[in-house]
């Protein structure tokens, strides 16, 4: 070893080499896992909830992104609009059946002896 200062790479190599075989006792892990188990009994169990998602959804945060997504959705919906055949039938009156609208059926409207067949004086 000369009077030169140790190089960075040399020191890194030495530390890596030195760390080999220096390992903690396995019992430490067991003790810690047991301690964690005891501690975790006191932790609250949190249920899965959609609250967070809905809070984000209806908040003002990331508004441009939300608007962009909704616009895209609407645009795709409009482009993909394909009406079915039934939707082409236009509502209208069938004139073959209804030639004279609002026609008064006078056959049944002969009150007060209007029916001349029954009102035969002769």
């Amino acid at each position: 070893m000369n009077n030169q200062i140790f190089g960075e790479e040399e020191l890194k190599r030495m530390f890596t080499h030195d760390a080999r075989g220096i390992e903690p006792n396995a019992a430490v892990r067991e003790r810690l896992e047991y301690a964690y188990l005891l501690k975790s009994r006191n932790y609250k169990t949190t249920q899965n909830s959609f609250l967070g998602v809905f809070t984000w959804l209806f908040s003002w945060s990331h508004l441009p992104a939300k608007v962009a997504v909704v616009s895209l959705f609407l645009m795709i919906s409009v482009i993909n609009f394909q009406p079915k055949n039934q939707q082409l039938i236009m509502p209208g009156s069938d004139t073959t059946l209804n030639n004279v609208p609002l026609r008064i059926d006078t056959s049944g409207m002969f009150p007060l002896f209007a029916d001349s067949c029954l009102n035969v004086k002769s």
Binding site: M1, N2, N3, Q4, I5, F6, E8, L11, K12, M14, F15, T16, H17, D18, A19, I22, E23, P24, N25, V28, R29, R31, L32, E33, A35, Y36, L37, K39, S40, Y43, T45, T46
Partner: protein, 181 residues
Amino acid sequence: MTALINGDRLAFSELYERYNRRLFYFFYRMLGSDDDVANDFLQDLFLKIIQKPELYKPGHKFSGWIFSVAHNMCKNEYRRREVRKHVQSEENPDQYAQATYYETADEKENLIAEVFNELELLDESQRSILILKYKENFSLKEIAEILDLPVGTIKSRLHYARLELSKRIANKESLKQDSYE
């Protein structure tokens, strides 16, 4: 950490798996290469995380935070040892000599053993900087955050630590050569 707070055992296992060797090595080299002491400190550190996970502030890098906790534990231990030293007012002068000499067959291995023996004799702050930089590959900025010191100080201490270590090894080598002659 969030999963750990919610009681996820797997999250704890993963956290331990990720950091146990790194932190053990840190404690081992910072606290006199004592297996038992390093095991105790590792256990204490993880117990702190289990008992008070809220100590970790989510905005920070976890690895930096956990090493800063480890470093503070070492500092407290040094203080405790200092107090004890004063109280007992007697120390075995061969303590370091006994601990430092470690002979291996391979010359390279021997050099590494010597380097790490000398590392233990360095100043605590120099030692921690060397470990964090060359073993943990933290950047100077991260080390500065862990040790709560300015980056400039870290830079200069790192330089002097390397210089000091190199000098000590060079002196040892020259002493050896003198004894052979």
